[in-house]
Structure formats: structure tokens, C-alpha cells
């Protein structure tokens, strides 16, 4: 991989947010190593910057942990779903190869990371000026920050994926194939992403709970079991 190509690919990253179909189509048709690496760098840096602000309120060490865990979550989701997403892309008639599928998903996650990373200075300023976990308003602040961060993640996720659909349509053999592939990828990523984020808890760090990289019971339950249990409890009350 040439350093010049890599630098040019890095400079082209804002085009992901602009959703310039004609330009990004070229990325999908020619997924060079430089372009793959540029997307990976965006995920690493954007994810780390935003991840740090997620955990910072609880403790700086927690911020450091989450700065590692958020890019890790994205990477693990990509790796876990890589094979099935590629198979879906071919079965559903989009004509995308394994490398192109990986590139598509990397571009989508890179857009997410760019949006979240762009908002990280603001999130950090809010965290630094908010009452801390040990203060009397700690519990209220925790809920407010949690809500704010969830809104940012949902906004970045939806915007990144919606921006990418026209590009997928442009490269697929038929528009319907692009939509089907998009839905299949989205469903798969949500299914696996939710479980992996459950395994990689804590992200926000509740006031009073210890600062740790992973919980001791990280592999003792699933996200969906927990949702089901909570739902059942709600119904039986």
C-alpha cells in the first residue's frame, strides 16, 4: 500500500458523509487497501474519541477502557457478520464480492465513527461541566448523560446507514436487490451488535459500580434474555 494513496484516501473520508454517489461508487468498485485502511483509521480514531467521552464521566480510566472497547465492538461486529453478510449480498443478487461487502460495511461504520467523533468534543465538554458521580445530583446527571449519548448514537447510526443506501443502489444490479441486502445487513448487524455490546459492558459506568474493563459475568447472559426477562416482569406486575 502506497503512503500517497493512503493519504489521499484519508483526505477523501468527508465524501462518506457527503454521500457523493459517483465518487463512492468508485470506492466500492475498487476497494483498494488504502481505502480499506482509511476507513479502519476513521473507525479507530472516531470510535476511540467518542468512546472516551462515554466513560469519562464515571472515571478517566473508564474513558480509556471505552475508547478501546467502542472500536473493538465495531470491529467484532464486522468480523462476526462478515461471512454471512457477504453470502447474503450474493444470494440476494446485489453482485457484491466479499471484499466489496467488507468495504461497504466499513464505509458505513466509518461514517458513523466520523459523526460520533465529530460530536465527541461537545460530549466531552458537557461531561466535564456536569455534576460528577459522587455529587448529590449524580443519579440525575447519569440519566441525562445516558439519554444524550443514546440520542447521539442513534442519530449517527441512522444517518450513516441512510446515507449509504443510495450508494448501494448505484452499484447493485437492481434497486430491489440493494434494498434487500441493506435490510439483511442492518438486521444482522443489529442482532449481533446488541449482543456484543452486552458482552462488552460497562460503557457508561453506573455511579457506585466499580470501574472495570469487562464485567465478571460478561458471558453469563444474553441481551435478548435480559430484554425478555424485563418484559415478562413488566407483564406480571
Amino acid at each position: 500500500m502506497c503512503i500517497k494513496d493512503f493519504y489521499q484516501a484519508l483526505r477523501a473520508l468527508p465524501a462518506l458523509c457527503q454521500g457523493r454517489v459517483e465518487y463512492l461508487r468508485e470506492w466500492l468498485e475498487q476497494p483498494t487497501e488504502a481505502r480499506l485502511a482509511a476507513c479502519a483509521v476513521a473507525i479507530l480514531l472516531g470510535g476511540a474519541a467518542y468512546g472516551f467521552t462515554l466513560g469519562l464521566w464515571r472515571a478517566p480510566l473508564m474513558g480509556g477502557y471505552v475508547a478501546l472497547k467502542l472500536p473493538m465492538l465495531i470491529t467484532l461486529t464486522l468480523l462476526t457478520n462478515g461471512l454471512i453478510n457477504s453470502l447474503f449480498a450474493q444470494v440476494l443478487g446485489s453482485g457484491l464480492s466479499f471484499r466489496q461487502t467488507l468495504m461497504s460495511l466499513l464505509m458505513s461504520f466509518a461514517t458513523f465513527a466520523l459523526i460520533a467523533g465529530g460530536l465527541s468534543p461537545i460530549a466531552m465538554a458537557v461531561v466535564l461541566t456536569a455534576p460528577g458521580p459522587a455529587e448529590s445530583e449524580g443519579a440525575t446527571t447519569y440519566r441525562c448523560l445516558l439519554l444524550g449519548q443514546v440520542i447521539i448514537i442513534v442519530y449517527a447510526g441512522i444517518t450513516a446507514h441512510r446515507r449509504f443506501l443510495p450508494i448501494l443502489r448505484a452499484i447493485s444490479t437492481t434497486p430491489s436487490a440493494a434494498s434487500l441486502v441493506f435490510i439483511a445487513w442492518l438486521a444482522g448487524n443489529l442482532l449481533v451488535g446488541a449482543q456484543l455490546s452486552w458482552n462488552l459492558r460497562p460503557f457508561f459506568g453506573q455511579p457506585g459500580s466499580p470501574v472495570q474493563f469487562l464485567r465478571a459475568d460478561w458471558n453469563h447472559s444474553s441481551f435478548y434474555e435480559s430484554v425478555w426477562r424485563n418484559f415478562s416482569r413488566l407483564l406480571t406486575k
Partner: protein
């Protein structure tokens, strides 16, 4: 003769395909902006005229011109002066350090808010469909904040009359928030007009950013409090959200009780 307008930049060579080309003024008539070079130079007077009468001129300089740094200096000076005047008019000059602390906090607070929000403004501009360089985004933000500061300076006599008429910090705070919001609204509206003139396709993302910026400035005012009244320390000793701070003042003043 650096102030003379220059020809538009040459297109990039095929060997170096920069993915982001300079923003092109495409929609100037519908946005009400007429993009022309600043014929009288980029001095203080021309910058003021550009902000108030010909916003398209500043837009041209930041997107296609070659005198963006000179214009930025003039705009920065306008911003600092406007905020300093507003801060001086708002405080009681007999209250210790506040006569210099409030103007300083206003200037530092707005600059810090702009710095914090700059990366997201660039990303949100891209999401809005703008093909714009980071340097141009800095210029457009500076122009919009300078306009806001200029309007704040225009409100100086108004705020001074209120500050001399009332002892209520809650009332003065409310007046300041109102004036701040009005000034920021016009500044951000000019930013929106500029974005439309250079080809914004979706305004939703930029509007969202404007809301976030407004909230950041409010939180900054809380983090740098007190801006009004007397102070024993330069910065607060307790961290708070701005809504909590406003609510506490409202309750203490008795304005919230029936």
C-alpha cells in the same frame, strides 16, 4: 496590492484527485446572497460592511478568494470588541473583579464553544451535502459569530439601561439570555444562508448542529458563572447543568411561585 480580488483557483491536476473541491457558489440568488469579491479590501470597515450589507462578499472570500486570513483577523477583532462591550454593559462596575472577568468570560466562552463545535460543524456540513473545505467552514463560522457579536454590541445601550434599573439577577439573566438568543439566531441564520448559497441539499443536519451550538453556549455560560452579580472566585466551585442553574435562580427569586 494584496487586497485586489484575484481570479478563481485553477482546477486540480489529474494526478492529484483531491476529493473535496472548493465550494462553488451555486444558489446565490435564492439565498439572497450575491457573491462578489470584497472590492474595498478586508479591513475593519469592509468586514463590517460585508457582515451587515454584503454577506456574499465574505462568503466569496472564504470559499473562493485568497484573502481569508486577513478577513478572519478583522472578523475576530469585531467579535472580541462586540463581546467585550456587551460584557461591560451587563455588569455592575463596582463589583470587584467582574468588570474585567465578565467580558473575558464571554469572549473565552464563545471562542471555546466555537472550537468545541467546529469538528461537528464540518461533519454536519458534509452531511448536509456541502462540498466544502475545513478552512472555509472556520471562516463561515467566524463570520456568523462576528455578526452575532456585532448585534450584541448594538444591544449594549439596552442592556445597560436594564442593568442600571434592576437589582434582580434573575431578571437580568433572563434579559441576557433573550438578547443572546436573538443575536445568535441572526448569526446562525447567516450561516444557513451561506450554506444554501454553496449548495446545501438538506438543512436538517445543519439546523440540528445550530441547536447543539446554542445549547453548548448556554452550558458554557453556566460553566463560567457568575457572569452577573458579585463573585468571590473567578470560576464556580460546583458543577451544574445550565437548566438546573436557571431553575434554582428562578425559584430563589420567587418569580416561579404563584
Amino acid at each position: 496590492m494584496r487586497d485586489q480580488p484575484t481570479s478563481p483557483p485553477l482546477p486540480p491536476s489529474p494526478d492529484s484527485p483531491p476529493p473535496l473541491r472548493p465550494a462553488v457558489l451555486t444558489n446565490t440568488s435564492s439565498s439572497g446572497l450575491f457573491a462578489t469579491p470584497m472590492v474595498k479590501g478586508t479591513g475593519l470597515g469592509s468586514a463590517l460592511e460585508s457582515l451587515l450589507k454584503h454577506p456574499g462578499a465574505a462568503l466569496y472570500e472564504f470559499t473562493q478568494g485568497t484573502r481569508s486570513w486577513a478577513l478572519s483577523r478583522s472578523l475576530l477583532l469585531i467579535m472580541v470588541t462586540g463581546l467585550a462591550l456587551f460584557g461591560l454593559a451587563a455588569v455592575d462596575l463596582t463589583r470587584g473583579i467582574q468588570w474585567w472577568a465578565t467580558p473575558l468570560k464571554l469572549i473565552a466562552g464563545l471562542l471555546l464553544s466555537a472550537l468545541l463545535c467546529l469538528p461537528s460543524l464540518y461533519i454536519f456540513s458534509c452531511l448536509s451535502g456541502l462540498e466544502i473545505r475545513f478552512k472555509a467552514v472556520i471562516g463561515l463560522l467566524l463570520a456568523s459569530l462576528s455578526l452575532s457579536s456585532l448585534l450584541l454590541a448594538g444591544f449594549t445601550p439596552v442592556i445597560w439601561v436594564f442593568s442600571q434599573s434592576s437589582d434582580s439577577l434573575t431578571f437580568m439573566g433572563a434579559v441576557m439570555i433573550l438578547i443572546w438568543s436573538i443575536s445568535l439566531f441572526f448569526g446562525l441564520k447567516s450561516l444557513s444562508n451561506s450554506a444554501r448559497a454553496i449548495g446545501m441539499k438538506q438543512s436538517l443536519h445543519l439546523r440540528l448542529w445550530m441547536f447543539i451550538f446554542m445549547v453548548v453556549t448556554f452550558q458554557m455560560s453556566c460553566a463560567l458563572r457568575p457572569l452577573l452579580g458579585s463573585a468571590t472566585t473567578f470560576l464556580p466551585t460546583q458543577k451544574k447543568f445550565f437548566l438546573q442553574h436557571w431553575g434554582e435562580h428562578w425559584n430563589v427569586s420567587g418569580l416561579g411561585s404563584p
